[in-house]
């Protein structure tokens, strides 16, 4: 059964939205995005670039020729993808003359290979810019408005997924840190109680003694706590 275009579009959205699952592969999803852009929009080549601390990086291209073209854009330091990323604005229907005018070296690089029209869609969400999508066409016709909107919608969903993925990583990391912090607190409380009972001081005073001992010996608190619990620390020395 040949899937209708509507179904293909829906399926792509679901796949992109699935990036909210914690075990998804960025590169794989962006390859899907590049391939689907060529299938579903009136373009013949697509590529995705993501921002790294030192600039844009090529992540996924719909063909090896496209990969070469995009690498060229990065090396030349000029082109639609770079502009879309930098400005956060959509760039559409740039024909050969305008391309030559705006990005002369890029034009000299892509025109010999039959690229007539270029578009670039920013990947951004509320001020956060994370990359851009290049769409190249070998035909002369401009991209229908509906295709532009659809392409930007794909870019937006992929962006949300990527940002959420990063947020997830941060939260997971935070969770690990919090759990560790609470494990330390548990040990501290136990050591506090033990020390208080041993020396006849209040738990608050016991905590102060633990803290000053840790500071004096430059040891981490949880280590001092563990020593008290193991009975290794002379309570008078901790006073």
């Amino acid at each position: 059964m040949v899937m209708s275009r509507e179904m293909q579009v829906s399926r792509l959205f679901v796949e992109l939205a699935d990036t909210l699952v914690d075990d998804y592969d960025v590169v794989e999803v962006l390859h899907r995005l590049a391939d689907a852009s060529v299938e579903l929009l009136a373009v013949q080549a697509a590529g995705v670039m993501l921002a790294e601390p030192d600039g844009l990086r090529l992540v996924a291209s719909s063909s090896s020729m496209m990969e070469d073209l995009e690498r060229g854009e990065l090396e030349l330091g000029e082109g639609p993808c770079l502009d879309a990323y930098r400005t956060g604005h959509t760039i559409t229907n740039i024909g050969t003359d305008e391309t030559r005018h705006r990005w002369p070296r890029f034009a000299a690089h892509v025109h010999p290979l039959g690229i007539h029209v270029v578009h670039a869609l920013p990947m951004r969400l509320r001020g956060q810019r994370i990359g851009a999508i290049n769409l190249f066409a070998t035909t002369e016709e401009p991209l229908p408005e509906a295709d532009v909107r659809l392409g930007q919608a794909f870019a937006d969903v992929a962006t949300i997924g990527l940002l959420q993925q990063r947020a997830i990583r941060d939260h997971v990391q935070l969770s690990g840190q919090l759990q560790e912090a609470f494990t330390t607190r548990v040990l501290l409380e136990q050591a506090k109680g033990m020390l208080a009972e041993r020396t006849g001081c209040t738990p608050t005073e016991a905590f102060q003694r633990l803290r000053s001992h840790a500071r004096r010996t430059q040891s981490p608190l949880h280590q001092v706590a563990q020593q008290v619990l193991a009975g290794d620390l002379d309570p008078l020395a901790a006073g």
Partner: protein, 245 residues
């Protein structure tokens, strides 16, 4: 897995209201859960030092009791679910399954809890908490309810994630930090008892748990009594040393 149903549930919560603090979202989530799954009550707990810990939201006393029992005894379906990273479905607590947590089961059955379904809330291999459903009559969850519970658990993970950054902040979540402080006090009392009885702190904790369970009191209450000096424990007779041949 963020299913379409999970998206719908999220959309039904008041994320965009001004007063949409994560604890209120947690209250909404458990209320939604109790309404959409055939159970008596629902509780959402945050992880605390490796075990399900502080209760973030609960629909009723039964859910609170289920959670309190597990903290007091250090055992139960929620703890098992968190450790196994898989839902633990106990359709009949009084049956064979319940024997896995003798203390918890005895206390829960007495409190009228007949079935418990515990879903670990996790991301990236880290368990954030547990969403647990209980019923006052035995019986399994229907396939539809199971799927719904799964979607609710996904949303529960996200609610907890939003709660996390402020969890130790007294000003943001005073109820939670108070509950956490109660929990920590249990460990202080365990330290005191360990020193007094000349035992490892783990053993002292178990003695506290056993006493709390036997007296039917929450362990945090007992801990306060230990620290105030109003709860005494007989000295423990050390075991005779092993005879060597």
């Amino acid at each position: 897995m963020f299913s379409e149903r999970a998206f719908q549930i999220v959309a039904g919560l008041s994320w965009f209201e001004r007063s949409a603090e994560p604890t209120r979202l947690a209250d909404q989530l458990v209320a939604t859960a109790a309404g959409s799954v055939a159970v008596t009550g629902v509780g959402l707990a945050w992880m605390d030092a490796g075990l399900p810990g502080v209760l973030v939201a609960a629909t009723d006393e039964g859910a609170r009791r289920v959670e309190e029992l597990q903290f007091t005894l250090g055992e139960g379906p929620c703890a098992t679910a968190a450790v196994r990273h898989r839902p633990v479905l106990v359709e009949d607590l009084a049956g064979r399954q319940g024997s896995e947590w003798p203390g918890f089961t005895a206390g829960a059955v007495e409190a009228g809890v007949a079935a418990v379904f515990a879903f670990p809330l996790e991301l990236g291999g880290v368990t954030f908490g547990v969403l647990d459903f209980y019923r006052n009559a035995p019986g399994s969850l229907s396939p539809a309810d199971l799927a719904e519970a799964g979607a609710l658990a996904t949303v529960g993970t996200w609610v907890l994630m939003h709660l996390q950054p402020g969890i130790a902040d007294e000003d943001r979540f005073p109820d939670l930090t108070e509950r956490l402080a109660d929990r920590l006090q249990v460990h202080t009392a365990a330290g005191v008892l360990a020193q007094r009885l000349g035992l490892p702190v783990g053993d002292a904790l178990n003695i506290l748990r056993a006493r709390a369970f036997a007296k039917g009191r929450p362990i945090s209450e007992l801990a306060q009594a230990v620290l105030a000096g109003t709860e005494t424990f007989p000295p423990v007779t050390p075991l005779p040393p092993e005879r060597s041949r």
